[in-house]
């Protein structure tokens, strides 16, 4: 495993920066059940990082630790060179971490454009008084963000469903709207929880393309959980493997694929 502390050059030639987020010896318990045991890894600026593992490996719990929804009993989370204290999820969102959800968590009562606009909430600062007048600065702000959201909608090719209530959209499109919403937050770090679960091959290809484009065009750092090994191996720069809450391996896709423990625990089971 090569030393990558100061950044490295990815296989496709992209330059990956220094450490953005570091998980140090994370242990997470629910009552008596241990979900994660002593897991440590880091995420670099501009990287596409994957967390994989069989069902119940603690992947989603890990993601929830990263975005502060769960607070680990032991271990530290370092973000951008500082130890992150335990803070409510909305403050973590303010730090520039956005995510999508395994079981889509869109706002069902709202349309696509409204859902995407929710990603801009944090950036809208005009106070209540302007809001209730909806004039001047408040309206300008609304228009400005609306424009940005329309760009994201164009980028993800979902213009046609702009004004459709999201509850009535097919699954694949809902996933895409959710990605749009996360992108609207202009995150530094984007967490994707099984972005391709339940999709057909074509949809998976589309989604992979979007993920690469996002990383490429906006330079967004991406951490994703995925079940589909082939997808992960194509997309990710580095992979961390969990099993039963424990860390089995961490490295490039090639390294991980050759790791005997991983083959035994995960690949061996799958194939």
């Amino acid at each position: 495993m090569k030393d990558t502390t100061q950044g490295y050059v990815a296989e496709d030639g992209r330059h990956i920066g220094g450490v953005m987020m570091e998980m140090k010896n994370i242990t997470l318990r629910f009552g008596g059940v241990v979900a994660i045991t002593d897991v440590s890894f880091d995420i670099r600026e501009g990287e596409i990082r994957a967390i994989i593992g069989p069902n119940g490996a603690g992947k989603s719990s890990m993601l929830n630790v990263i975005n502060g929804f769960y607070h680990p009993q032991e271990g530290e989370v370092w973000f951008r060179g500082k130890k992150r204290p335990s803070m409510p999820p909305y403050e973590i969102a303010e730090q520039g971490i956005a995510r999508t959800f395994q079981n889509i968590a869109l706002f069902k009562g709202m349309t696509t454009i409204e859902n995407v606009m929710t990603g801009r909430q944090l950036m809208m600062k005009k106070n209540f008084l302007w809001q209730l007048l909806r004039l001047g600065p408040a309206l300008d702000e609304e228009v400005k963000h609306r424009r940005r959201c329309e760009e994201i909608i164009d980028f993800l090719e979902i213009q046609a469903i702009r004004n459709t209530p999201v509850g009535s959209l097919p699954y694949g499109l809902q996933k895409r709207v959710e990605l749009a919403r996360a992108l609207a937050m202009e995150p530094k770090l984007l967490l994707l929880d099984e972005p391709m679960a339940g999709m057909n091959v074509e949809e998976k290809e589309d989604m992979s393309r979007f993920i690469l484009d996002v990383n490429d065009q906006y330079g967004t750092t991406i951490a994703l959980i995925e079940h589909d090994m082939s997808v992960v191996m194509d997309l990710a720069d580095r992979v961390v493997v969990l099993d039963y809450g424990k860390q089995l391996a961490d490295g490039t896709p090639d390294e991980v694929q050759k790791n005997q423990a991983v083959i035994d625990a995960y690949l061996g089971v799958e194939h």
């Binding site: 869109l106 409204e114 909806r134």
Partner: protein
Amino acid sequence: MFYREAGQFKTSYKQYMQAFPIREDRIGIAIWLAIALFYVPFFGLPGLEYTFAMNAIMIPVVIFTITAIGLNILVGFTGQISLGTGAFMGVGAYACYKLTTYFPDVNIIIIILASGFVSAAVGAMFGLPSLRIKGFYLVVATLAAQFFLEWCFIRVEWLYNYNPSGAIEVPQREVFGLIVTGAAAEPATRYLMVLGFLILLTIIAGNLVRGRVGRGWMMIRDMDIAAELIGVRPLRTKLSAFAVSSYYCGVSGALMVFVWLGAAEVESFDVNHSFLYLFMVIFGGLGSITGSYMGAAFIWTFPILMKEMGKRLFDIDPIIMENVSLVAIGALIVFILIKEPHGLARLWQLVKQKLRIWPFAH
């Protein structure tokens, strides 16, 4: 045929984001507004005796529409059930009474607007538990507010100026030389005053729900955990919903007593009234301002209509009709929840959608 958006191109997002992007809708609203402003105050409702139309139908409907919009902000837009509406209206009414006793020379419109803030503060206070309590548990919290406030309205004699009858009796107040409260006020004056409040508060509610604040409410309603992870502060958002909602209820409560009833005891703010207002919101449509108009108008006029229909057409005893309309409203609530959980507003939308493509089937 006449209801088309084809050919109406939007050249800016501002246009796109209008409350009523379709021209025919705007014309429709203008016609309604013209009727409400220029026809009703002078002629009442067609076919009804003027003061009956004004005092028993139009004025209360306008006031309850404000209540319904307020409650809808909480229940329909933010997803927090409240059974404390009656009491929050009471807070507005008692606050208005106290303020106008202390400042008899201040314009009553300003007093009413100010008393809404008292109600908003009380509402936000009782909204505090909503951070930890969700769903049906919150129902209990709002019932606690309802019953505790009812007790205060009786026990804190200061609230009704130690009046031995335990009621607040509205003093006469004038605005620009016109009597607006008390029995001597003309129905038209009173109607136009409450209508003015309604228009103002509708515009504000419309602005709020279409902007950042409203989106925050709906995010909490649709999926509170996701909302929080996106950066919505749950406490601030829920409290703002409680406060804004209670503000509307408070203003409508003050208007109800000052402009409509003229005097009120605690009975006018009891829990049964809270149910009535909830019915207006359910029936009109959760999360719809247009629906609040429809719901308030329907729930208020329906029993009156039933009573008169029964009496005039079939010679049925009004007592029976009273019970029949209770049953009918209950049944209609269940019916509309089964057929269209989003109420009359959604039905109206469907009709419009049909119109949009009429005369073609699809």
